[in-house]
Amino acid sequence: MTVPPDPSPAPLEIHDLTVSYHKKPVLWGVDLAVPRGQLVGIVGPNGAGKSTLIKACMGLLPLNSGWVKVFGRPLRDVATRVGYVPQRESVDWDFPVNVMDVVLMGRYGRLGLLRRPSAADRAAAKACLEKVGMLPFANRQIANLSGGQQQRVFLARALAQEADLYFMDEPFAGVDAATESAIIAVLRELRSQGRTLLVVHHDLPTARSYFDMLLLLNMNVVAFGPTAQVFTAELLQKTYGGRLTVLSEVAHAVGAQERGAP
């Protein structure tokens, strides 16, 4: 894929990315350049490496090869321009914090070390809570929220990051219909402000209507482009169908060899 001759660098550019988990390759040779202001859905079967791709982009996993550039620079330099919504199960919801505390965490990256959140940060956090309809719950302990409410809190925290590029890992998983439409409204608003969003999604029917662009992923990029062009029976068959079982078998063999199994 060629990068268009744009003066401002692409929000996300991935070159020849390979990531392994326990020595077994999960992503192979991923090349990708995401243009600005797009709402991108990442779809693919279970184990296709959707979350791995996001985590690798965020620098949460070691890369075997390749590189990731965010706004033309290594992620470390531009961490404050990147927002993140992890999977809901990734944290302990019994943790002794309330909703406001969690949303304020979205400001920490910007604040840097040693500085405390100011009144302005609190006001910003409140505005974000308002946007996802969770302001009335600001002082509630996070264990006492429904799954959909917890997801909204995570979204509010990402909003508080005021980032230009967002990675979201299954924000629609296990939420009620009202939350789902609230979330998609917020995502569209972010997109219309010129921000770029990459969203892992596992429901094909809604993927078609939600996203501007789709990334069909199954260990490598099957297709990436505007939803209308990519959402075709042939490409979906390629993503979810049998062709790639060969790939995963080879990956397993490589993993076994690396681990030194007989």
């Binding site: 390759p25 192979w28 040779g29 019994d94 790939l247 080879v250 199994a261």
Partner: protein
């Protein structure tokens, strides 16, 4: 004037224990081996089930059971001690279960709270009744394996079998081996996949409690020799070492028994050389064997890994 590290006298360290001093050290090294082997076999299943720290909890909580049983029955009868220790073990599991199901405190903290409380009670009772209870603070921690030869010998039909606690430990080891052989498949399946086990007609809950009961019995029998803390090493080290070298469970069992023998013999020499307590010396020797396997293991050792990495290993296959 004695020094910290005594001179290295080959005869004293390596010859005497097997010749002139053999009547004493023979029993000690045999006891070390029996404890290591029995603990190692049981410990393999703890490792498989990721319950290694359950051994920690049970071994600590056994103490108040022993002390209370002793104070109540006023004897060192094996039956009372076993009962007391078993009761304490069950109590510990119960407390852990109650804390982590009824509150949001997680299991790790629940284990920590349960065993430290019970152990504290045990130590306190020991300190209060030191003159009555035949235990002391250090014995509680690392045992008195050098007392084994001083115990009254058990004689059956005129045949001298050995010191009482050693005979008991030998019987426990035989029992453990018998159980492992008899329930080999069931133990393996229930450790590997509780759902599959259930569908095959194995009750995983019964297996779990059976394992815990055997664990308590092994820990109690080993308690006098190696105390509450070293027994954790005895449970984990043999299996951990063996599993660095092989993946097949029968070989892991065999490796655990070999590890037990190695650590008993090497520990004896180490302890004789340094003139320190023998049980901790055996554990240190066992840890040394583990470290060797970790570094030099032919497949997964640190050196083998480093070589593979430096050699580049097989290139990741390009996606088609």
């Amino acid at each position: 004037m004695e020094t910290l590290v005594p001179a290295f006298d080959f005869h004293r360290i390596f010859v005497a224990p097997w010749t002139t001093e053999f009547p004493t050290f023979g029993w000690i090294v045999l006891m070390g081996f029996l404890v290591g082997a029995a603990c190692g076999l049981v410990g393999n299943y703890l490792l498989l089930r990721r319950l290694a720290l359950m051994g920690d909890a049970v071994s600590h909580s056994v103490l108040p059971g022993l002390v209370v049983a002793f104070l109540l029955s006023n004897s060192r009868g094996t039956g009372a001690m076993f009962l007391g220790a078993l009761a304490a073990g069950v109590l510990a599991t119960l407390i852990i279960e109650v804390i982590h199901t009824k509150t949001r405190v997680k299991q790790d903290a629940a284990i920590g709270i349960a065993f430290s409380s019970l152990f504290a009670v045990g130590v306190l009772l020991t300190a209060l009744y030191t003159s009555q209870v035949d235990l002391d603070a250090e014995c509680v921690l690392y045992g008195e394996i050098s007392f084994v030869p001083l115990e009254p010998m058990v004689e059956v039909a005129g045949l001298t079998l050995g010191p009482a606690s050693l005979v008991r430990m030998a019987l426990v080891l035989l029992g453990v081996v018998a159980l492992v052989v008899m329930f080999y498949k069931e133990l393996l399946v229930s450790a590997f996949d509780a759902g599959l086990a259930r569908s095959l007609g194995v009750n995983p809950t019964a297996m779990h409690f059976g394992l815990m009961a055997v664990l308590s019995i092994v820990v109690v029998s080993a308690f006098e020799a190696v105390g509450a803390i070293l027994v954790i090493a005895m449970l984990i080290l043999p299996g951990a070492t063996a599993s660095l070298l092989t993946k097949k469970l029968p070989w892991v069992h065999a490796g655990a028994v070999v590890h037990a023998a190695l650590s008993a013999v090497l520990g004896l020499h180490l302890g004789v050389w340094l003139e320190c307590s023998l049980a901790p010396a055996m554990v240190v020797a066992g840890a040394g064997v583990f470290a060797l396997a970790w570094v030099f293991g032919p497949e997964e050792g640190l050196i083998a890994r480093w070589r593979r990495q430096r050699g580049g290993g097989p290139e990741p296959v390009r996606a088609p």
